[in-house]
Every structure is written in structure tokens, then in C-alpha cells.
Subunit: 311 residues, 6 copies
Amino acid sequence: MSASKGLLTLGESMGIFVADGIGPLEHARGFTLGVAGAESNVAIGVARLGGSATWLGRLGPDSTGTLIEARLKAFGVRVLAVRDTAHTGLMIRYQRSGQFIQADYHRAGSAGSRLTPADVPRDEIRQAGILHVTGITPALGDTCRAAVFHAVEEARAAGVPVSVDVNYRGKLWSRADAAPVLRDLVGRADIVFAGPDEAAIFVDSGDALDGLAKLGPSEVVVKDGARGCTALIDGERLSVPALPVTAIDPVGAGDAFVAGYLADRLAGAGAGERLRTAIASGAFAVTVPGDCEGLPDRAELAALTGGDINR
Amino acid sequence: MSASKGLLTLGESMGIFVADGIGPLEHARGFTLGVAGAESNVAIGVARLGGSATWLGRLGPDSTGTLIEARLKAFGVRVLAVRDTAHTGLMIRYQRSGQFIQADYHRAGSAGSRLTPADVPRDEIRQAGILHVTGITPALGDTCRAAVFHAVEEARAAGVPVSVDVNYRGKLWSRADAAPVLRDLVGRADIVFAGPDEAAIFVDSGDALDGLAKLGPSEVVVKDGARGCTALIDGERLSVPALPVTAIDPVGAGDAFVAGYLADRLAGAGAGERLRTAIASGAFAVTVPGDCEGLPDRAELAALTGGDINR
Amino acid sequence: MSASKGLLTLGESMGIFVADGIGPLEHARGFTLGVAGAESNVAIGVARLGGSATWLGRLGPDSTGTLIEARLKAFGVRVLAVRDTAHTGLMIRYQRSGQFIQADYHRAGSAGSRLTPADVPRDEIRQAGILHVTGITPALGDTCRAAVFHAVEEARAAGVPVSVDVNYRGKLWSRADAAPVLRDLVGRADIVFAGPDEAAIFVDSGDALDGLAKLGPSEVVVKDGARGCTALIDGERLSVPALPVTAIDPVGAGDAFVAGYLADRLAGAGAGERLRTAIASGAFAVTVPGDCEGLPDRAELAALTGGDINR
Amino acid sequence: MSASKGLLTLGESMGIFVADGIGPLEHARGFTLGVAGAESNVAIGVARLGGSATWLGRLGPDSTGTLIEARLKAFGVRVLAVRDTAHTGLMIRYQRSGQFIQADYHRAGSAGSRLTPADVPRDEIRQAGILHVTGITPALGDTCRAAVFHAVEEARAAGVPVSVDVNYRGKLWSRADAAPVLRDLVGRADIVFAGPDEAAIFVDSGDALDGLAKLGPSEVVVKDGARGCTALIDGERLSVPALPVTAIDPVGAGDAFVAGYLADRLAGAGAGERLRTAIASGAFAVTVPGDCEGLPDRAELAALTGGDINR
Amino acid sequence: MSASKGLLTLGESMGIFVADGIGPLEHARGFTLGVAGAESNVAIGVARLGGSATWLGRLGPDSTGTLIEARLKAFGVRVLAVRDTAHTGLMIRYQRSGQFIQADYHRAGSAGSRLTPADVPRDEIRQAGILHVTGITPALGDTCRAAVFHAVEEARAAGVPVSVDVNYRGKLWSRADAAPVLRDLVGRADIVFAGPDEAAIFVDSGDALDGLAKLGPSEVVVKDGARGCTALIDGERLSVPALPVTAIDPVGAGDAFVAGYLADRLAGAGAGERLRTAIASGAFAVTVPGDCEGLPDRAELAALTGGDINR
Amino acid sequence: MSASKGLLTLGESMGIFVADGIGPLEHARGFTLGVAGAESNVAIGVARLGGSATWLGRLGPDSTGTLIEARLKAFGVRVLAVRDTAHTGLMIRYQRSGQFIQADYHRAGSAGSRLTPADVPRDEIRQAGILHVTGITPALGDTCRAAVFHAVEEARAAGVPVSVDVNYRGKLWSRADAAPVLRDLVGRADIVFAGPDEAAIFVDSGDALDGLAKLGPSEVVVKDGARGCTALIDGERLSVPALPVTAIDPVGAGDAFVAGYLADRLAGAGAGERLRTAIASGAFAVTVPGDCEGLPDRAELAALTGGDINR
């Protein structure tokens, strides 16, 4: 795999209104409108770390769709947007108190949930360095699920490595509904990312890394927040501890982790280096509020890990 | 009809994000979250003018639903909210330039569009002074349409006057689809409000007032923005010129007009007074940005019409 | 006492301008205008926890008075406002540094301080489930003091339980001036809330709970911030530890505590449950900036105590 | 009179909270805190036009008092503040609609209203180039009235010209109460400023300029907003038309006018030049929102009158 | 010339801090940071109208440089940025009053002023559909001037049409210094844009269009704000009146005009159509505050000229 | 030295744009414009602690220069500003993450860097109680360096104590370039402030206090952040531990420390008291965001050290 090839990812990106300050939604003085979406976060993260990244998905005929496209381009992500007649999905996020972040989804029937296999150009997959998908998209509807599996099969046929972030979302489907679909997806992946809770969907007992590896992937990474990560990569067991930072906002840290790993893999780095970059990227993300605002570039990673505080 | 009886209205209220400033959505620095809905605007307007008003509709299980309920109560409106499992509808409004206001609707499949006849308590209708509905609700779906006609029939059976604001919305349905439904609705009304364009849906040629009156209503009011209004009330023809104010925001002016008319009618005022209050209420509304923020109280109306500027 | 009866409380509510950010007042970029008042905070807290609550007080003929009334209604509180010709009192609050919150009172001669016994309708008291007053109101002037004692006597005569939060405020009167008045008030209460410092006003030595109980109340609760609370309720001694939360803003925590206790008492809960709800309500409040923005609903209390973080 | 002598003025300055945007106070997203006061506005205006100016008044022991002092100093005004134990007065201003600005005064019992004759140092008056007072201060209380007349008498005794802006405020006292006091004050002035309505307090019929001059002042200026001004100065009749500008905010225009006249008088300019500067200063002020933010410097006056738009 | 070829432009882009509201800089509550630069404005304008556009220039090693690059990409402009060790230039803009906009330049020694001929790749010029330069760049320094003339000569050699916007800036150089340089530049252009004042730099007397055409360009366009424009294109004289819009902010209107003309020329439109698009694009821009926020897309132009207001 | 004499300091003050919130500059919603400059910070700090303070420096012909002058005056600092034709320097500061604050300097060629010996009036120095300079100014250019040494020599000649804060800035010059200049400067000082890293510039090995004292100063203070400070004052060794506060923003803490020491020295306090005030002043500053917003007054220092929290 050449370093010049890039990431291709597909999924739903939504507009997200984030309330200023802390307190009930009724008392919020104002909101900012940003972009939310696990897959586009990973694409942005890879681009900020110097890799090339393409995001593919459906957007509505509205200004939110236009905003999502413009923001991704500003981050250096190539956008393959299919414009739909249904509106772009929206989220509202507010921090009810110092303890609780609340998120309301207004995504039912959205453009993003109407992705189909026909939206995924074969040529784009063949030219990709990695295809990255998540367990969110298959939960959005039948055509979405078909699109994900279609893309994965095309990638496998073309010898393009497939990366899957399990990303189980209880608001979208039950564990019972999700388990067979996600197991099928993981079974087709070369690289899989999961949290301990997500690993438990597939692995009843015993070691999570071994259990996931048995499903097929040759690169299994279990990210465990403040406890760092463990991995089983090409048969080798590795673990990297978390970096000691003060968390401001946990949202987006998982996507930053995945972006760090995949950016380094695209650049040809070894397993240990990929994991260290993943850990640092995730650590940086929790020290910045917002989803994609916390995705670091290489200089910021160096500052974080080298203690080189720029003043 | 005693002055102590109040307005009952039903329809969809949505959360509306309004962008600060003028320019493309991508460049908006922030947003405020408010309440949008023609019927709830009329209810607020009546309450601010000293009448009692009740709004009935479906809200989602989300914080936007809670916010809508709290805001209406703060304005003094009684709320009969049915909580649905579908999310509350959202709108995004921004002012692209000094010439154009842009509105994106994210309302498909919303809680508000799932109103049914069973949501409308017979007792509430029987005790109302006026039932007010609009031509928006029938466009939102079959159960919504049934709910509106059901409420109208209950009111007619109980001798409660029925008010209809035609409110044709081209984004929701075509004129061809709307015409028979709206004609049917107007035919069952005692009071009807329409703009000149809307009147043309029903009246091919000749006088709009006569044409609308022939459909059934005994009180026909044609509001014509900067040209004031004309009316045919109990056989009497009236017209009231517009007040000379500098328009800041036309949104909500029609609802303010209707609220002025209905508040005065509930209070037992004569036809001329109702129209003058309607004109003043609408005039006040255009001098204030926002939908419901511009709805005046009696002191503000007096200041506007009497030139009594409070400094 | 039936659960369907509600809280009645009376006192002064003011407009409060709270500066954005941290630093000297001269450098504040902006302010928000909210509602301050120990008694209205308790009323809001009870309403948010599902109880019914009525607040009674004097408001000025100004827009701040109107705002206070609208905000309380939005929170679901019933308002019995007497409109006065004197202006509504104001406060300015700013956070000078991470260590110090500064509050300036502009309340001398305010409408709220002109409450009189005649403002308190006998029927309202008789129908109340609990009458709640604080030690702030008697410090605001002679007629205020008379109004509080009048209300308490009416409640006692009608068999309505009387709740008193000692709330000693050194900016309003000296301990020497306050002691006899507050002792008299506590002596007429069924339920009393005090901090350790406030208990020391009445109890020179020995146990605070015993000392306060000897003055008359059958329910004595001493709230001690990070140390939790102790109580002597119908002869039974209880204590509940504090919940481990990160405090953001201590303002309003005492009122939230009282609201939790009284809401549960109105709902017929036992002594232990009342105290646990009080502790949780106070704990939630300190994790939210602002006075009344931090008052939780039942779902939020459940999330706090059950560790059920809603993401 | 040497140009190096400055203006001395005394009166009440208050903190003013001005709501952002247009609409009801309840919906204001935020406020800014500024300084309000006719006399301090005039002092700022003189300082910005290059004159020296001193403001004298009472301020409370609160942060608003500190803010007023700092802001005046930043504008180059010398401050002689007497610190009082009563709080600094406050105002709340909001723009209800495009037509109406609403102002609530929270000033009863304020520090500023407790000015006494003893607060006015004889030496300060003797060294002044002009003593400027307004008809607002005598309406604030007996000691305020005494302070104003005391200062005026000291100035007369020392040969310092006395300037009076009538500034009749109907919210503070009735015309009947005000008339004898203001007539007495005008009778002791060398320079008097009045609007047409204010002149009518003193002059029943006939020419306003003649009528006012008969009371004593040798310089009578009637400012009439969009109609410009007329004056009778040392027996000479002059008139200057208004400048054609688009008014954004009329507040403070009168004070800017007075500042323009007095700054030029201190600098030794002739009557016609004083009036042209007054007209231009007032015209500039109406094109800027806020009280004192609109007070121009000499370069800005030149740009306004010379059409020299700096881009 | 094929429609698929794009615009190439080069010059200095700066960060611009724009103050919120109207008034003195000292009183501004906040600022937004945007991108300023006549050439990048034209590039954005062409991209929004569906053309392809490339901007070339020097940026500093700072975050403002990064921001400029990201914003241009978000607008769809291709960026060829040379990173310099000198800082990116800055501007501060505030609206002193309703009449005056004030701009302070902090650009001396900036990265953008260090452009050299070597920064301009020959291949980029050869592949361009149009090379666009302005009279600002030659005023920034010797190497800038050389870079502009070098680019123009390369374009001429390759048969690429050269467009020049005279853009005389009195803050950068005197008319005497500018005249020979600008005359030389215009003499090498195929297309020239000038205001009447700018035309007078070259044309002492007689018709501005003829005079400019005599210098060499086959397409001469004189833009005259509210009076519309006149042109002499391939020997044909045309004029297009202004569109009646309410101007909010004149900044950027000239660049929008140029972008409209060049976008249509790249797309192969005739002379009349180019001018009508230029007029409409400029008209749209004045109804939006900001430099590049007002640049319209094709749908917005259609709405403006067709009266099709999207509500 | 009499307590009535004040501080004189000279250096560069810049406008500083500080981004709201945390995250990349491109995503900042807004900025505030303040004043940055080590020397003006010390002057403000001395003024807030009750001393008199004068700041001398060059400012540009722009509004930022005007703003700096007005802000310093509002803080009570006397300003001796030389107006230059070059623009006022600017900084942009933003918080990239919870870990990193980023500062971009746009100061090359600024007015402030053009200070010359002729700008420093001999009389001002002779009348000063202390002359305070920093190691930043000599790094800004040859004339700046000459101005600093000229001022120092004038002070020495007049018997005015010279204070030097080493303030080595790696962005302005290398340690190799700085060392001889700073050593020369420290050698002429009576009072020197340094951090441990800065002391190492002069003292290769052994005790920092002794090493610095050997260069000449009779008062050597080493400030070491969270570890407090040590000092060698008139041969006596002292140390004061840090106060336990939660740091919010470290910027400006060093200047606050110096201001505390010098204010007390001007007021005639002993060495131990000066250091305790310095420690408390620095501790207060870190609990407030911003450079000069955190400088405390005497009451705030008392509250911090006495635990007298004003609520």
C-alpha cells in the first residue's frame, strides 16, 4: 500500500446545534451550528494529520447540506455528496449540568439515511488506500445497510483493506438486532476498532482481542478511554497507556483515535507507532470542546507528546 | 358569546433556529432557538391582548418539545400537549441578504404532523369562545387533516364560531391539491382570513370578498399587507388602511393581524374596531424581528396608534 | 395532607444581571437578566419536581416585573403578583475571579420590600399544602415582617404546615437584630432548615438539631454543604451524606435542597426519602451555573443518583 | 475667559443596562452595561472635542460606581466622586420595536440623588471656565436642588458663566411642580438650552427666544431636532439648519449638541461657530447607537461636515 | 477559450477583524475574523457562480494564514499559497457611525507584500482561462510589482487573456506615483475595470471608455455604483443600469461586479450577459454585510433579478 | 524615597485579539480586543494597588493606539504616548486546547518598536519613585535598546531606583544574542526579577540569588510559579511560598507579581511585606482570565489572603 493512497469513508453527516453554556435548553442564550458524523470526523482527522481523505454520503437540498460540504472542504476533505430531496438530519446538543450532556436526534427520514449501494462508485473504492465504515450506518435503514456491505465487498474484491469501527448506538437499535449485523460486518474487516462494551457484543467470555481476531480481522484494537488501548495486530499483542490530560469534552475522542491509527497506517507506520498516534490524537481531542474541532495536526500531536508548549 | 370565553386553536408548533445577522448560513456566528407555528402565534397574540387562549398539538419526547411548552406558558397560553415518540419538527431561518429570508424545514415525520382526531377533546371545543384553525395543518398528513375537520365539525355542532386562516403553503402541497381541501374548510367557517393570492384559489374572477362569502363565512377578511385590509362582515363592507410603519421583519404579521381581530371579537368589540386592532397588531409585528416577539399588548397598541411614544 | 395540595410561598424576587465570564465588572462583555429570590427558587424547584407551587410577592410597574412573572409561569409556578408603584429590585452578580463571586444589591425601596399583611389572601393559605417562608423577608422592612408573621399565623390557624428556611443575610441586618425575630419565626414553624452557622444564632451550645427542635419545629434539617445533612424528624435522627459532584456554582443549592425536601413531603414521601431527594436536588444544582437554572426534574435526579448518564 | 479653563458639571450618573436587539425585555439575549447621565454626557462630549471637563457627583459603594468612574476617566473626564453608602442608580433600556424605546428607572433612593451643597468645592467652581447644570438634578430631591442652586450662586459670585440645559423630565416631576424651580434656575443662568416644548414651560406666548432671554440669560439656544436650532446670543439672532443624516438612535443627541456649543465657547469660538459645532455634534450622535458612544471628536466632526468619508 | 478553464489571480489576502455593532472601536463588544483581499474576493465570486478559480499569494507562518487557506477552500477556491516567515497582514474594520466605516491597516512588512516573480508558476498561467490582477499589488513593494508584471507577460505570451481591476488605493501610494505604473499595467490588459475616478488617472478629458480603450484593452468596463455601468467591448458600446436594492454594506461590491463579469466570460457568455451578471452580482453584494459573504451563487442572482423571493 | 512618588515604565503595548472559547482559530466565534504589554501591565497593577504609575511608549496613528491610551487611563495609569506613523502592533491569542495557548505576533515594524532615547523626558525620570524596564524592549530594535539604556542611565544619575524584569522572550532573540545585553541591563539595576530559567542565562552554576546579586542589584527576586519565590534583599535571604489557588490563566501572573512588589516598595513597605504582596497579587492574577483583568486591588488581596470571601 502506497502512502499516497487515501482514506475513503461513507456514512451520515448531520448538522448539529450545540448550545452555549451549561443548563436547560430553554435557557440557552445561543447555539452554534457544526457538523456531526463519526465517519466524517475520521476523514477530517486523517486530513489534519496529513493524509488524503474522501467522505461519501447523502445530503439534503438545504443550507445545512451546503454547510456540511463547505466545512469538510475547509478541513481538506474531498467530498462525494449525493444530493437528496429529503432534508439533512439535525442534532441538538446541550450540557444540562456539569455531569450530563444531552443529545436530541432529529434524523428520522433524513437524506443521510437514504444512502444506497448505487451511490458508491466502484472506481473510488478501487483507488482507495483504506475503506472505513462504522456500525452506525447499517442501523439507519435497509438501503444504508446494503450500501455498507456492498462497499465492503467491493473493497475486498479489489484488495483494499477494510476498517470497521463498531460504534454500537443503543438509540438506533437493540443489541439483539445489532449483534448479527455487526458480527457479519466485523467478519469482513481487516481492521476493527471496539470499546470493551462493544467487544462484549461479539465475545461472550475470554479475551476480547482474541475473540475479535477469531471473527477475521488481522488488526484488532480495543480502545478503553482513560485506560489506554490494547491491540492484536498481525498476531502481535500491544498496549499503549493513556496520556494524562484533563478531559474537557469526551465527544469525538473515539473518532480521533481511529483517525490517528488510520492516518499512520496510510503513511506506512508500524503497529506501535499507529497506536501511539491514535492514543495521542484521542487525548488531544478530549481537551477541546466539540466533535471535529479537537482533531489535531502533526505539530499539535508533537507538542502534546513532547511537552513542547508553544507560548 | 361571553367575553370570558377563550380561543382554542390546534396545529403544529416547531422549534426554529434563527441565525444572527445577515449572510450565508455557513457564516452565521450563532443562532437562537424559538417557537414557530401560525396557530401558536395567534394564541400568543390573543393572550397578550388580554384574552384567554389554548393551544393544542403534538410535541416530541425531546427538549425542543419542553421548550415550546414552557415558552407558550410564559406568554400566558394554556397548553394541551400530546407527547409523541416522533421528534419535534425544526426549522432553520436565516437572512441571506437584505432582500431574502431563507427558511429550511426539517419537519417530515415530526410529532406535530401526527395529530389525530382523538387528540381533540370534545369538552375543550364546546367550552371555547372561538375555534381557530389554518390551512397549514391539513397539508401535514391525513390524520392532521382529519383532526382539523373533526374539530371544526364539533365546534359547529356546539355552536362555537369557527375561524380559518387560509395560509396556503406552496412548499407543502400544490395549489391543485390544496384547492378542494381548503375550499371545503372555508365552507365550514364562520370567519375566514385570506391574502389576495389565497383568495384567488377560491375565487376565479370578481370580487374576492363576495366570492369568499358565497362559500359560507359570514365574516370575510382580506389582509393585503401595506395596502391595509378589506372585509365583508355580516353583510357590511369595511376597509381599514395600513399604518405607516417601517417594516423590519414581515414574518408573523399575518398571525398578529388574525390575533388582533379574534381577541377583539372574543371581547365583544364591533367589526370596525376588530379590524382596526387587527391592522395595528399586524403593523406592530412588522416593526419587531421574530415571529412571536412582535405580538403587542394593549398598551403597545395604544402607543402605536396614539403616537404616544414612551420615552 | 394530600399530595394534590401545593406549596405556597411569599417573598421578594428581583431581576438579576449576571455578567458573562470572569473578571472585573468593567470588563464584562455582556450580561443576562434572570430571576433571583430564595422563595421563588423553592417554588420553581417544587414545580420542576412535579409538585404544584404558588409564589406571592410585589413587583414593580416595570418590564423586570413582567419578566419575573413570565419566567415563573414558564417554570410552571402559579404567580400571585401585587403590582406596586415602586420599581422592582435589582441585583448585579459577577465573578471577580475563580475564587470570588461578587453581588451588588440595588433593592432599597423596591416593590418587593413593600409587601404587607393585606397582600396575603386567607383562602390561598388555607388551601395550601405547605406555607414556606424565609428569614430574608422579615429583614426587608416592617410591613414585610408583619406579612410573614401574619401568613404564618393564618397557616397555623388553618392547620397548614409552616416551613422556614432561616437564610440569615448579614448584608441586610446584624445578627443581634436578626436573632429575636428569627427565633420567633422558627418557634412558629413545623419544618425548619438551617446551616450550621445559622443554627448557632439560636443554639449557643450543644447539639444544633436538639436546640432547634426545642424551639418548636417537629422537623429540623441542618444542611451542611459538602458534608451532607442531618435531621431530627418527628423525634428520629437521620443523616444523609453529600453526593460526590464537581461544584460549578454554589448559588441556589440551598434552595434546591429545600425544594427537594418539600416536594417529596407534599407527595407524601417518608423522612429518609425527603432528605435523599433534598441532597440530590442540591447536588444537581451546584453542577449548573445560575440560581434557578440548576433546579432538576425527577428524571435528572434519577440520572444523578443512578449513574445513568444520558448520552 | 481663557481657553485653558474647563467645564465643571454636576449631577447624577447611573449604570444603564441596554438590551441587545429589538423586542420584549423577556426575549433579550443579553445586555451591555454603560453610563447614563445628561451631565456626564456633556462632560464626555467636551473632552472628546478637546476641552477639559470635570464631572462631580455621588456614586454608590458598588461596582457600578467604580465602572462609572473608570469609564469617565477613559473618555478623558476628570472625576470628583463622592462615595455614598446608598447604591448607584440603574436604568434598563430596551427597544420594544422599531418605533419604541422603553426605559425603566431603578433610581429611587440612589447615591446620586443624595448630592448636597457641601459636596461642591468652592475652589473647583472658581477655577472653572463654565459651570453646567441641568433641570434633572433639582427634581431628584431637596438636597440635590440645594446643591445645584448653591453651585450656581458660587459661580455667579466668582464670575464663572452658568449654563443650564432645561431637560424637563415628566417621569420625575409634574410641569406644575417643575415650572417655578426651573424658571428660578434659568433666571440665574448666562447660557440656556431648551427644546420648543421646554421653552413653553416659561413662555406662554410669543417668541421662545425673546421669552427666555427676558428671564435673564444672554445666550439662549432652542434646539429643535430635525429642524436645526435658533439662538439669541448677546442680542443677535442666529439659526442653523440640521444636517441631513439618517438617525439611528436619538438618545444623547441633545447632550451632544450642548457639548458642542460649550466646547467651542470654552475654546473662544464665536456664536455662529458654536452653533454649527453644536448642530454637527448632535447630528453625529444620532447616527450612533448609545448615549455617549456617539459623541464625536474634531476629526469626526470635520468628516461629517466636509463629506470627507474616511475609507 | 473553453468554459472548463478557470480564473487565476494573485495578490495579498489579509485577516480582517470586523467589530460588532456601530460606535468607537473602544466600545466594540467583539469582533469576527474574516478574509480580506480584492483578488481572493474575485476568486470566491467566480467559484460561487460555478466557475473554477485559483488564488495565489504569500501567507505567514501563523494561524491567520491557515485560516485564510481554509476559508478559501471552503468557498471552493483552489489555493496556491507560498508560506513566508513574515506574519500575515491584518486589518481592523469598524463602523464609527451610520455614516462612516473606518479601516486600519496593519500590513506593513507582511508576508503578502513579499510576493516575487518566482512565486508564479509558468504552468499555472498557461493553463488558466483568464489571469486577473489588480492595481493594489504593484503598490505593495518592488517584488510584488515585478510579480504582477511577470505574470501578465507570461499570460500574454501564452495567449491567456489578462484582466486588470485598477483599484487605486490612496493609502498605499500617491496618484503621481501610481499613474505611470497603472497605465503600464492597463496597457498590457485585455480587460480593464475602473471607476470614474480611477479612469480619470489615465484619461485627462473626453470619454473614459474611449480613453481606456486607446491604452490597449479590447474590453473596457466602467462601474459607477448606483448609476450602473458602461462598457466598450470589442468596439461595441453597452450600458446596464443599476438594480434597485437597499445598500447595507458597499464593501466588496466592486469585486462582486468583476467576479460576475469574469465568471460569465469564462462560461462563454456574450458581452451584454456578462455585464448584466456583473451588475446583479454587485447589487447582491451590497445587500449583505461583509466582503465575501455577499458574493452570490446563480440561484441567488436569479432570485434577485427575477423577483423570485424564496419564502 | 517618598510614598507619593510613582512608578515610571516604558515599553511596547499592543492590541491583543483574544479568541472566545477553546479550539482552532478558524472556529473561534468571536474575539475581544484588549491591551497587552508587560510594562503597561505592571503600571496597571501598581495603580490598582493604590500607587501612581506612568507608562511611556509609542502608539500608531490608528484606533488601536487610541484604545490602548483610553484603557490605561481607565485603570488610572498616566500615559505619555508618542504617536508614530507606523501602525500599533497586534497579537492574536487563542486557546487551541485545554493544554495549549497559542499566540501569534503581528508586531514587526510596529510603532512601539520605534521608541528612541529622545522619547524619554529627563524630568519624568527624575521625578519618578522607581524606573521599571523589561528585557523585552531591548529585543525590539536598536533604538528601543538605546532608549532603555538611556532611561536607566538617567535614573541612576538622578538616584532613582531601577527595576528590571528579565522577561527573556525566545521568539524575539536567541539566548546567545540576549545574554550580553540582559547581563548589561541587570548590572545597572537596583531591583531585578527573574524566573529560574532566566536566572540561568546569567548564572552558570551555584545559587541563582547570589549569582544575580553579584551582577549588581541589591534586591534580587526569583519568582518560581507554583513554588513561590525566593529573594536576596539588602543581603537578607527571604522566601515566600505560593498561595493555593486554582489556576485559570497563567498569562500576566509575572507582571502582577512585579506590580505587587513595586507598589509596596513605593508605599514604603518592608521586604517581607513586598514579597507577600507580590505572591498574593500573582496568585490572584492566575485565577482570572486575561492579562490585565486579573490585577487585584487592595481589597481583593485582603480577601484572597484573609479568606474573607465576599458573598
